[in-house]
Amino acid sequence: MPTAMEIYKLLPKKNCGECKFPTCLAFAMQLANLKVALEACPYVSPEAKAALEESGAPPVRLVTFGAGESAAKTGDETQLFRHDKTFYHPTVLGLVLDCAQGLDKVRAGLDDVKGLVFERVGQQVRVDAVAVKQSVASADVFAEAAEAACSQALPVVLMSEDAKAMAGAAAKCKSRPLLYKATPANIDAMVEVAKSSGCPLVIGGAPNLDELGHLAEKAKKAGVQDIVLEPAASTAAELLQNMTTIRRAAIRKKHRPLGYPTIAVLGRSQSDQLRGALGVMKYSSIVLMDDLPREFVYPLMALRQNIFTDPQVPIQVKPGLYTVGEPTEKSPVMFTTNFSLTYFTVRADIEKSKMPAWLLVVDTEGQSVMTAFAAGKLTPESVAKAIETEKVKEKSKRNEIVIPGMVSRMSGKLNELTEMKVTVGSRESSGIPKMMRTLSQ
């Protein structure tokens, strides 16, 4: 964002007050803080408006493809490191379907992609796009495959370097596919297709990033706003260097020609899988692959979930009464907090004991035991309430609750509130297996 003084220089300096601020400088300060919109000034010149919009645009443009709820959002990132704030738009993972294999295979591939949906830590994770590649197929087959893909609730990438075939395929799609791709050889014709269809366009095939930026500028001048960049990424080293350089140029230098989301189109080899994971970590907005076997795509999606987790918000598990093993009325009850790391650690340690147990997860807004206790989010009252809501006394008839050793101080009060026997457990989760063996059977 420009500073208040930079904005002020572009304002009419009339101090008319019609924007509801006493002076143009005051208005500029509000603008710089994104508190008001430029439209509040009736006298701003079109030139100033264009200049301000340009400098106020996000460093990496937001580009959307697909339609409706399943539309894929890419770009609009503001950081190089997730710990500096967060990464906003998880890498879009897509499977490439080659039309050369025939329409039946493409249709079967579409079904495969729709089946790549998993439930992970309470979230639905999925392969979220499909790419239809013309390769050696005729323009008609390509168009038909495109139509089949676009009729699914999945964002689609159309892959052809033949502008005519691309125009035909794009005409069959109502769901705003991403067009892949314009190269130095076909850029003028592809830009026309993108303009007339209103679809976002991938620009690639440039020998270096300077040239890639030039091509993007050219497309932009010709009227295509929604651009995705494909830098060379034939090895992991090249992918890392180019993706990092593009992201840095956009964010640190506000270098507009490279201020777009990126795509990496990979194959099916072990090296491609490595680059796929690298792309998720290092700035690829879209990763397309020829093959997504379940044993690879599932951990890859776990990686995407991890990397794109907002570091400012702890990951939480749902509060409630969980079972470890197959507990009965005689099994012990323990509690912990709903910070996911705490929960998973405690759960794993109970499992190590090989004894079944009830695990009560108390809502602490995702804080760990000590943090929540210190912040008053884990109190005898909140634990007692959870015991009641989850009907713990009906599930286990021991009338006993094991509490984390770190919060032994709540024993008395908890006993008073619940009339349960309170047993102080180990201070560290790792002590749970040993502690469990000492519990009376």
């Binding site: 992991a236 490595l274 044993e295």
Partner: protein, 316 residues
Amino acid sequence: MGFDGAKESFPGRIKDVTIGATAEQGGTRGKRVVVGGSNGLPFHKWESEMPHVPAVAMDVVDTERMVPDVLHGTLGALAKEPVEWARKCQEWGADMLVLKLASANPEEENRPVEACEALVKEVLKSVQLPLLVYGCGSEEKDAKLMEAVSNAGRGERLFLGLAEEKAYKSITAAAMANGHGVVAFSNLDINLAKQINILLLDFGMKPENILMDPLMAPLGMGLEYSYSVIERLRTGALVGDPVLQVPIICDCSCAWTVPEVLEEAPQKGPQLQRGVHWESITAEAAMVAGADIVILRHPETVAKVKAATAELRGGA
């Protein structure tokens, strides 16, 4: 235009740390492994030096208890034969070994110090790789154990672990007595990681004898915390904090404790291959964030990770 401005350089550099000693240095290892030495972000070869790619260590655990069922097909009888297991790791291409003496734990097998010491000697005799030796985590037992291990490995330039804020003196003293190094452990916190290094330095440990383990949480189990802690530790070192200019070691064998690896779940793909990907991606994330050594368990992961480092390093 032009992106020279996009190159970044840092004033700091990670120290070179050498693990193992050959006959020349008074040991019996077949080779030494040097890690660290970089003055830029991981694999940023276009703007910085990375003299050594991350090294691959394999772990050997001296009790079957720590080997999950899914690995029985791979490790088989080796899980009962740590010496044989160690030999296999050498064949599988490991750069170094981490021998975990978990059976010494008084809460578990409670194997006597003498037996553990004998095992260390046997492994040193059977395998030429540089060796790291981890205790069982019981402070009292490890104090005696590490003293014995240190003596058993005199001259070999072992690295002993894990030195923690609450228990670092005896293990560090044991290491210093015979010119070994230590692995400084901290629990997913950049300040604690710095704190343990300061304690070790104040205790008299030389910085070139320290590796730091900031706790690698496996994929899907808090990996993002480790990823960011490691990135921050590495940038902290590069911008000039001398206390953090220590190579980072990440134990990625933790992938084999993740419930999503230990469950059959055919809809998530064949279990063993899923596990190998799980461990590989964990290791890749560790290296991209800044790890100088990754500890692995499965031989296929070793091959994958070695291919990855070669490709990331590029032709130069």
